[in-house]
Subunit: 287 residues, 4 copies
């Protein structure tokens, strides 16, 4: 490993806890679930999502308002209007919100609405953006690049920390391979390795890895079993009508059922997966 | 998917159970563990391995006597002498034995000593060997090729079945990728997909995927959590002295501890992981 | 292929010519060579490079002043001082200059010094940057992402064109693979495919593909033979002392010798590779 | 590099010449072309192929009679009847013949009909087959595995040599990647590397790499330009009616035209590509 000075684990029990809100922290003994649609489409959609997820052990909401699309002619996201919709859901249901930023110019605005700034796979080595996130004042969810090595992933986090932001969560979301049956290959070996090499929380996105909803639940269970600190999963009130990634979104019912099935697995590996547990105190105590 | 006539699942509860011995079957509700060294080195080694594994919920022994080595100058295995050592351990401890065959000529001999014939990754599309296995009269453990697609893997099993042998177990063991931190990338998405596409049992080899022993336990837990029907794991009385794959072998103590940690995960996904449970009856009933 | 409306070839003889200067154009019958160091290090270095390349059939200079480095602790480039050094070499030797921009904020400044803006592999899907390049008023050299599909590469060019800039040159520079002997795998099949699918010029970077200087010349010859419109090659007065990518830089002598060896290959495929040929007129006539 | 004792180049001018017949040798100054259909289908087909290729600078015939097919239900080849068809074409047109062997049992029979035994990608690490080829008494054309590293490829050749057969020709035929536009990625960097690391001849199969006939000619030209000692290219009297790999086969006319276009490129890199040039003498003299 290169000179990962700040990201490197100094001893086996060295874990950073990233606080998303007073109630929600990632990296402690409680496994965290982030759910929501690929794309924020309208207020009614987010209201439906948030109201159903809020009563399950799901801790935060996701939803894209600036969308990195392969084609310039695909829907590029609702922008600020989408941020307002997210903020409403957040205040109504008390769930912190995660959304993607695609450029330096978007950071300030997004940071006023969201609790965590997501950096997508395509920007994992957008180094100028990483540097700017050092001053963002909000936690960063850094997704692994499509074919980033573990070392490159760790060093991308080092950029953010070296520029002043200690709150980074790593997210494994599948890597490119030769096979086309799954969209990407979920690399849980990387999750295990990252938790040994760094003190940062590591979460898993089984939705983008699988690309097919019928594979998501089993992969989510695997992620918890191998020690992931959390999950970020796509769900939608009407998955087949999703404006993007329709094939991989869970229904809200399937999402809630999945999360309940994760609880005994979390326990089997010495963790919890509960909604309200005075997260902050317990988790800090755990460290 | 191509014309996977025999391998294809006909309905969600269509599961084939492959019987290794009167006591041990793969593909039922009980998760099966196969353990042992990469290479059979001598009788004392196998005695140590078998005696310690026999008292844990570990169901079968592995050990290579014909070794596919990248270099012609590396140790190529003990051959028939190794088979005799395996057979001794098997009869002394009542554990079925799995070992690799590398050519048609070896099948008959190996089949007289072993309970299951392993086909290594490098031979997954050695079609003449697959055809010959159709008449081997023993179950086959078919490992996924280094960069085989899910379709190619399934069709390799189809070759064996189409030539007369219905007892095939699929084994995911990691695929090639660009990253060098892990030896291969364990593709649990493929495990989930294979269990949905085929009725054959699917097991996981976390040792060859990880290539580093400190990653093996977490990956084994992930495999059970996502529905694998079993595991095949390398262990050695003195891992660092193993003549091959030393870096990935568990100590016998670590092996036993790992297997005990899998039990609650198996339960969390509606399975068991026990040693003696009148395996056959219960498992058949489960189907 | 997606909706590559602007990038798509409309008929076999549809070729766009991108003009770098009055003398230098890419995409016509003359094969173009761009040479220079990975990183601009100081004025003396660039003076040496430019003076030696200027008298060979080498058409433009490259040199990085904003460097995308895996580690935040590696040298990040000379910035504006480096741009001034490039501009001096350019005016003294009459060679257009190509250099990388890593963020929207850098575009305006770099565009005042350079004749072509390079987008590195890591930013190929930095969509906000691509959009901003639409208004840059300078040609763009778009490098293929580390694991970008041909479709994604083409659609990244579409972003730039759709936002107003018709002058895009595509650059194949090797893709990620499982092998570690070469740094990347030069995908000349993609070069051939891109020239069939799009009307944009396609050039090849054999230096980053090979990662080893002893492989560069043969790969450069292959690139010209398969129809590439140009080459971008790293060279340095003292390759082993290069601050970055030292292992792949050619000496200036080797660079010049290589370019001379390309001439008969260009002729063998119906092209030329000459320095001064009233490039503009002849090339436009060729279309 | 591992212990590639026999395969390793001892000095830059160390080249092995593999003699296919009195007239045809691979590895000297003359670039060799092998052409023919993927699959031998009937006598009329081979007669058409051989009669048209014989009058062009094409040196040997290819044609599969034992076919490695992904599905057991696909046509598996004509077997011995196909060998007889090949042998007829060979004696009528004086062109040596290359065909694949898939198992040890086939070696003896195939060796009585063919001048060179091809080992397909899927058997590159079928080590028992490699060992048996050591005693085959005929040159071996060893194709690179689907995802074999350069080191593994070299060591597979070492197996054959270590078991007694010095006549091995290496064949790069594309490796697996994430992109689906081309069937495989032709790795010409490997060709260059192999020619620097080993003294064995290295040829290129652009057909299987490209998977699309419209890409084959440009890739063939690139292969010659980077120093390949020969090419093996699929062609068919009626490409679209080919029983296998129809999409990549050239028509016989396109094949002949392609080979003529290679001649000036061969000359540009100091080689020849001619039909009758007292191949043996000149080539030995060249070494």
């Amino acid at each position: 490993m290169l000179d990962a000075r700040l990201v490197k684990k100094s001893h086996p029990e060295h874990h950073t806890i990233v606080q998303l809100s007073n109630q929600v922290a990632i990296g402690g003994s409680n496994v965290i679930v982030i759910g929501g649609p690929c794309t924020v489409e309208n207020a009614a959609q987010m209201e439906q999502v948030a109201s159903q997820l809020a009563v399950a052990p799901i801790h935060a909401l996701r939803g894209g308002v600036y969308k990195p699309r392969t084609s310039p002619y695909s829907f590029q996201g609702m922008g600020v209007e989408g941020l307002q919709i997210l903020a409403e859901a957040r205040s109504r249901y008390g769930m912190p919100v995660v959304t993607e930023v695609m450029s330096i110019a978007q950071i300030e605005l997004v940071a006023t609405y969201a609790d965590m700034l997501q950096i997508g796979s395509r920007n994992m080595q957008n180094f100028e953006l990483l540097k700017a996130l050092g001053q963002a004042g909000k936690p960063v969810l850094l997704k692994r690049g499509l074919s980033a090595t573990i070392e490159e992933f760790v060093m991308a986090a080092e950029y953010i920390m070296a520029h002043g932001n200690p709150s980074v969560v790593l997210c494994e979301r599948g890597i490119r391979s030769f096979d086309t049956y799954t969209r990407n290959v979920l690399d849980l070996g990387a999750v295990v390795a990252l938790r040994q090499l760094t003190h940062l929380p590591v979460i898993v996105d089984p939705s983008h890895a699988a690309g097919k909803r019928e594979l998501v639940a089993d992969l989510a269970r695997a992620a918890v079993a191998c020690g992931a600190d959390g999950l970020i999963i796509e769900c939608h009130p009407e998955p087949d009508k999703s404006v993007s990634d329709a094939r991989q979104a869970l229904s809200l019912e399937a999402m809630v059922a999945l999360v309940h099935s994760l609880e005994p697995i979390a326990r089997a590996v010495g963790r919890t997966l509960t909604k309200d547990q005075g997260a902050k105190t317990k988790q800090l105590a755990a460290v």
